[in-house]
Symmetry: C2
Subunit: 361 residues, 2 copies
C-alpha cells in the first residue's frame, strides 16, 4: 500500500513538474489489445507486449487527462481511508465533480479506470476500485483469516464448517491470509455441481478446497484461486463442461487470462491450473449423453485453433478440440447423473484424480 | 418429510387402485396462471385460485403421465436418501430411463417438475429438486445452525465473523435453524451495495441481518428471507433502486410473489417486507443524480397500474409510480455516492430507519 501511494505521488509530481516548466505532461499506458500479447509456457500466462500509447495534454485530450488525474486522486483517498468503490460508485463520485470533467456514461469512467490500472500496472482492486459483481463460493479444507474492520481482531473462517452452505468470496481479497492442508483446489463450473460436492463433503474424502466459479470466473474468484495456488503451493484442477466455452473461455481465462486485460494477468492467472475434465475422451469412456455442437461452438473451435496463442502452443489442446469437432457433440458436467446421481463422486472424480499427471495442460 | 412420503404413497396408491379396477387414473393440478391468482392484503401474498386442470390417462397423455409418475418415484428416492438433484440433473436422470419415457428437452422435464410441485402443494426443494443457481449472501447478527452431513454434528455458523466475506445461502434451506438478536433484515438489491455495508459492519450499528439479493431474488434467497422473518419474527426492509424494475419486479416478487408460481407463494413470500427505498420522494429530498426512464420502464409502470393485483390494492404504490412517471426519471441505490461514498451509511439509511413506520407497503 505504501509503495502504491508513493507511485501515485511520483506520477502526480512528474506531471506537476512538467506543467510548472511549461512543458506538456504525458501519461504512458501499455496498449491493451490481442496484438500486444504473447504466450510463453514458462511464464504461464498471456503477457503484455511492449507497445504503449501515450496521452499528452492537448486540447483534444484535456478532459480525459483531467478525469484520469481526478480518478487517481480518488484512488489515493480510497487507499488512505481503506475504503472501496465499485465502478458504478466511481461513476457517481464523478457526478459530484465540476461540470467540465463529468462523465456522461459509465463506459467512459470504466475506460479511465482501466487506463489507470494499466498505468500503475496493478489490479484496480488495490487502488480501491472493485467490481460490481463477484460470485465465487468456497468449501473444504481451508481456513481463511480476515479481520474485523472495527476492532482489527483476526477472524478465522473455517471452510470445513459451513454444512450445506459455503463461504462467499469478498469483492477484494488482497488482505486475506490462508491456512490449509489441502492437496489441490477443485475449481467447478456450475453452482449445481458445487452444491452436490458440498452436500456430500467431497472435500473431506479427497482433502481439497472446492471453489464454485459460476461460469467464467470473476476477477475476485480468479484472484482468490490464484492466491490459494500461490500461498499454499498447490495445483488447481478445473472441472468444467466438455464444450468449446468450458475449454476456451472458462478454463483458458482461469489459466492464462484474456487478451484485452493482459496487464493484470500476472495477478489473476493460475499457471498451475490443469484440466481435470470433462474431456472428449471422457465422453466415449463414460458413455455420456451429449448435445449436438451448435454453429457458434464450431466457430469457437475454429477461432481457437487459428488465433488463440494458448491453444496454438499446446498440441494436446489442438487434438482435443479437433476430436470434439469431429465427434460433433458436447457434454455437460451434470451428464454423469444419467448413470447415478453421485457417479461423479463415487467414480468419475476418484478415477480422474488417480491419474492427475495425465490431465490436459 | 414423513408426511410428504405418506402423501406420495397415497397419490401412487390411488392411481394403482384405479388401474386395478380397470378405471382411468387421474392427476389433478391447480391451474398455474395469472387468471387463477388473487391478492388479499390480510393473507399477504398472491394466492392460487380454485381452478384446476386434470390429467387423465389416455393415449395422448400416456407419456407425460408416465413421466410424472417416474419423476415422483425419483422424488421419493431423493427424500429417502436425503439427497438433492438440480433440474438439469433430473433431466439427465431421465436420460437413463426407457426410450419411451425419455424427455427430448429440459423444458419438458422442468414442466413435469412444476406440475409435481403443484400436485403436492409443496416447494420442489422439499421433494429434493433444487434450482441450478442460487445467489444470496448474508452477513450480520445471525447464527445459522446447519449440520455435518457425515457426522450429524451441529455446525454453528456465526455471520458476524466473516470480515469482508459473507455466508453463501445453500440451494436448499429447509433444514437450517436460526438464532439472532437482529431487529430486522435488510434485503439489498446489488452485490456492490451489500459489500459496502459489509465492509463497514453496518449490521453492527443497526443490529440487523444483511442479505444480498443480486437482482430479483432466487428461490433459495426468497425462502431464506421468508424463514428469517418467520422464525425470528422480525420485519424485512427492501433496499432497491428507484425504478419500475426494483419496485414491480424485485420488491413485488419478494413480498407477494409472482402469478405463474402462485402455488408456492405461501412458502416463499415475505408479507412483512416493507419498502425502505429508494422512493421517488427520496430522489427529490436527497437530490440524487438520475437517468431518464426508458420506454420499457414507462410500459412497466402502465402495466403494473393496470394489471398488477398488488399495485392495484395499494393507493400508495399507485401514487408513487405515477409520481415516478411524471418525473420521467429513475435513480439507483448507488447514486448516494455522489454526495459521499458512505453517505448511505452515515445519512440515508439511519434517517430512513428512524421512520420505518412510514415505509411504503
Amino acid at each position: 500500500m505504501e509503495d502504491l501511494l508513493k507511485q501515485i505521488e511520483q506520477e502526480a509530481k512528474a506531471i506537476r513538474d512538467k506543467i510548472l516548466k511549461q512543458q506538456k505532461p504525458t501519461m504512458r499506458f501499455p496498449l491493451r489489445s490481442l496484438s500486444n500479447v504473447k504466450f510463453d509456457a514458462k511464464v504461464g500466462y498471456f503477457e503484455m507486449g511492449r507497445k504503449t500509447k501515450e496521452r499528452t495534454l492537448a486540447v483534444a485530450t484535456v478532459k480525459t487527462f483531467a478525469q484520469s488525474l481526478k480518478m487517481i486522486a480518488e484512488a489515493k483517498k480510497l487507499i488512505e481511508s481503506d475504503d472501496i468503490a465499485t465502478k458504478r460508485e466511481a461513476y457517481y463520485i464523478a457526478k459530484g465533480w465540476q461540470e467540465a470533467v463529468r462523465f456522461s456514461e459509465q463506459t467512459e469512467s470504466d475506460t479511465v479506470l482501466d487506463d489507470i490500472e494499466a498505468l500503475f500496472k496493478v489490479n484496480r482492486e488495490r487502488l480501491g476500485f472493485v467490481p460490481e459483481e463477484k460470485g465465487g463460493e468456497v468449501a473444504g479444507n481451508l481456513m481463511v483469516i480476515d479481520r474485523d474492520n472495527d476492532t482489527a481482531e483476526d477472524l478465522e473462517i473455517d471452510c470445513t464448517r459451513f454444512g450445506s452452505g459455503a463461504y462467499s468470496i469478498p469483492i477484494s481479497v488482497e488482505h486475506l491470509r490462508f491456512q490449509s492442508d489441502a492437496r489441490f483446489v477443485l475449481a467447478i463450473e456450475t453452482a449445481g455441481m458445487f452444491q452436490r460436492l458440498v452436500k456430500h463433503n467431497f472435500w473431506r474424502q479427497s482433502q481439497c478446497i472446492l471453489v464454485s466459479m459460476g461460469g467464467v470466473p470473476t476477477r475476485a474468484t480468479r484472484r482468490f484461486i490464484y492466491r490459494l495456488s500461490k500461498d499454499l503451493d498447490i495445483p488447481v484442477y478445473a472441472f468444467v463442461d466438455c464444450d468449446p466455452y468450458g475449454i476456451c473461455n472458462i478454463y483458458r481465462t482461469l489459466k492464462v487470462g484474456s487478451g484485452n486485460a493482459a496487464h493484470i494477468n500476472k495477478d489473476f492467472c493460475v499457471p498451475r491450473a490443469r484440466f481435470l475434465g470433462v474431456t472428449p475422451d471422457d465422453i466415449d469412456h463414460y458413455q455420456l449423453p451429449t448435445h449436438k455442437l451448435a454453429e457458434v461452438d464450431i466457430k469457437r473451435i475454429d477461432d481457437a485453433l487459428k488465433n488463440d496463442p494458448f491453444v496454438r502452443h499446446y498440441k494436446e489442446w489442438q487434438n482435443a478440440l479437433l476430436k470434439l469437432k469431429k465427434m460433433g457433440v458436447r457434454a455437460e458436467q451434470q451428464a454423469f447423473a444419467t448413470h447415478n446421481l453421485n457417479h461423479v463422486i463415487t467414480n468419475y472424480l476418484p478415477e480422474k484424480l488417480a491419474q492427475a499427471g495425465a490431465f490436459l495442460p
